[in-house]
Amino acid sequence: MSTGGWAGKIIRVNLTSGKISSEDTSKYQDFIGGMGIGYKVLFDEVPAGTKPYDEANKIVVGTGPLCGSGVPMSSRTNITSLYPGNDKNLVTDSHMGGNFAAFLKYAGWDAIIIEGASSKPVWLRIEDDKVTLEDASSLWGTGIYNTTAVIGSTMGKESCVAAIGQAGENLVNLAVIMNGSSHSAGGHGAVFGSKKLKAIGVKGTGSVKIGKDKKELMDLDAYVMKEIVGANNQHVVPSTPQPWSEFVYENSRWTAREGLTWGASEGNIDTGIAAPGDVNKVGYRTMKAIKDLGPVAAKYTVRMGGCQSCPIRCHAQMNIPQLEQYGVSPYAANTCMGWFSPAGVMFKGTKDQKEEGDGNMITRALGSQLADDYGVWCNYGSIGRDFQYAYESGILKNVLPEEEYNSIPWNLLEAGDPAFLKEFYRRVTFKEGEFSHLGDGTYHIAKRWNFGADYWDTKKYSMWSPLGFPKHHASDESYQVGAIINCMFNRDAQSHSHQNFISSGLPVDILKKIAEKLWGSADAIDPPANYTPMNQYKAKFAKYGVIRNCLHDSLTLCNWMWPLTASPLKEREYMGDTSLESKYFSVVTGIDTTEEELDLMGERVFTLHRALTVKEMGTTDMRGQHDLMVNWVFDIDPDKKPFTEGTIKMDRDDMQLALTMFYKEMGWDEKTGAPTRATLEKLNMKDVADELAKLGLLPA
């Protein structure tokens, strides 16, 4: 093993026997950490056919070598297990930021492998080398906030707690594991619940060692902070005209400007001119509060916040006194979907209370607190869209018993009164009645309630896959590239590598210049709603997107910021630095590694994901049975043709060609999209190839 980065040990806890043991991380070094460890454990140890809530399912909570080292944006926890949101029982990852991952490293651990199932509620207590299972009977039935407070008073205020709420306990498929007051990982909460594992508390007094000289690491940090890092999602252009920028991009998350303040802070702190190069202003660049909650939110913003080691601060921390009328705290924190999902549930709109836009803000803040405390997940916003479809199509009225239907305060929903959210999340969390099946996930609910083809085939509902997951920066934003990436995983794609680059705010001609340097041709990207047929450069771009995503979740770095493909500096011609992951990896671990070598490790992790999916589905036919898209992708804009200006409509043959070209880039079988023996062996995974051969799952 190396001299730096990894803690070197992994906790294995068997909840059936109560046995806790320590394993050497070096066994997984080829797979880096986090996601890579998760896939390897699932491939080797969980038999095909296992169901998410079976005792035989395992759940791996992992970090990587860069986590905790102080590398910017590096406190990500990657959680890998089988996913209950559809009937295929496939592997997925859920991710959370916050402090948990870094704290686990400081306690001396790279990952936790959880297996078996306890017969009574327990929580896992980690204090450096001391790891114990504690009785959680008194915590069972408690929300995440109180659970954290109780464990915090037991372990000490300096501890960090990852917990499930009542949703996870009650085996609601859409449930989270959350740490801190706003960092949740979606889809595996009920796997914890099925194992009667309420929480993991961690505190550590150890260190993450640096393989090379500390100065090299600090110099890299200074370079990133001065020249490379942008705002949230690596947007590199400001949202309003700024003296330092030649461009403006309205949708940019670089919102800092004079007069935009953290309005509820002492002294009304101004985000000001946060120009590139000013390292003490980086944290003011992104005032996510106004992006997620509207302009009215500025004066309710206490500060911005976020994860350990991250200078960007994308989680808005609010003080909204109006929340108290709903029986919750006025203080709320979240980012992105945490705020958006409740607004999706209130699809009839929200009524303002005192000033323009406050109804929307209050709705989001109330809903985020309810969902976070109960630990309900949204399937990337689908829970609201599923509800909307069922309500508006009249299905809900048919499937709910009359008494139950009449017990739901529809008047609150219709009137845009956020109090409706209390009913909504409570019913889902406690599995009250037929209505609560909305928490089963789209795939199950669509089957159970017999959703029509219009649900799947209308863009409004955002579905991407017949497996029941929605689009997440797909063909509607980056055409074949987004489409390929959205087909690859077993839930909504968690990859932002491609999206962050194309939405960085730079004009398309500059993006094209960067694309030419990185992927061989400016044709790798298209201007908005004016895209061209598939080409090999798009395949290379898509591959970059996916394998960097896998690298980040293994290292672990935040893929909502990394890779830093563009930069805010004109003198760099806006070129970011794609070698940074490998440079940080070399300095932190002490193992000299080139960009190409590290990318190959990402390819290994992603190919293992594919092998695992093949194994779990029992077929090599990934093209025909897995890499599927619903019809709106191809049938939207009926009077327009693909490849013409003004449409995002895709072409069916061209998309099949896109998959073929991508499979080829990955070295997978071009017909089926399954990994070949040659590729698996090239990636040092002969054992995986042998296992697939044994199961008859290697392509001919």
Partner: protein
């Protein structure tokens, strides 16, 4: 950092309160006892003459309203001073108060300091006391004053007994369990230079005294 922001550091009620907070006991009113001012290095007499420890040139002060809890100062401090990322021995303490403030979880945590409460962070810094409790308590005299006046741990002398940790009213010095040597702030400024929101600054004593006097404190 603009001049306005520099000036603002000690004008903030919460910053002052945090800075003056003594082991959980807040300081109320406009008058601070002489002993506390002594502790902070502010006296009516010429401190330099009477102090056993020459006065530090400055003191690290955190503006809690600007602190976003990124914890970069903790890794930067330990990287700069120890060559490893180790928040436990960071000389500035933010993470230990992250969720529930300096007092830890209470029944009414939802309204108290911290991420689970009013969202305010509680960064704790060394006061570089005029009469440092840590240095005076050290049984082997390992805490001395360096060329810029900071109270520093002489690694060769330190026996890792932890007396300084207990003696400091704010529990700032921390014995590194990996080396069995104590660590404390040396006023190197790394944390302040790299704080992404400019929440930290090494403020010269003259400015501290001036600000205190302006606010009606005897300093």
């Amino acid at each position: 950092m603009s001049n306005n922001e520099k000036k603002g550091f000690l004008d903030k009620e919460t910053t002052r309160r945090e800075f003056l907070k003594l082991s959980g006991k807040g300081i109320g009113g406009t008058f601070i006892s002489l002993s506390l001012l002594n502790l902070l290095g502010c006296t009516n007499t010429n401190v330099e003459e009477v102090a056993a420890f020459p006065l530090a040139q400055g003191v690290l002060i955190a503006d809690r309203a600007r602190c976003t809890g990124c914890l970069r100062c903790e890794t930067n401090c330990s990287l700069a001073n120890d060559g490893k990322a180790m928040p436990y021995i960071s000389r500035i303490k933010v993470s230990r108060n992250y969720n529930f403030g300096t007092d830890g979880p209470k029944l009414a945590y939802a309204y108290a300091d911290g991420a689970f409460g009013n969202k305010l962070m509680s960064p704790e810094t060394c006061r570089q006391c005029a009469e440092p409790y840590c240095g005076k308590a050290c049984p082997v005299g390992a805490i001395t004053t360096n060329e810029i006046g900071a109270r520093v741990v002489d690694q060769a002398k330190c026996v890792g007994c932890g007396t300084c940790t207990k003696a400091c009213p704010w529990t700032m010095p921390t014995v590194d369990p990996e080396t069995s040597k104590s660590t404390k702030c040396v006023n190197c400024g790394t944390c302040a230079a790299n704080c992404p929101t400019g929440a930290l600054r090494i403020v010269p004593w003259e400015e501290v005294k001036y600000a205190m006097r302006k606010l009606g404190y005897k300093a």
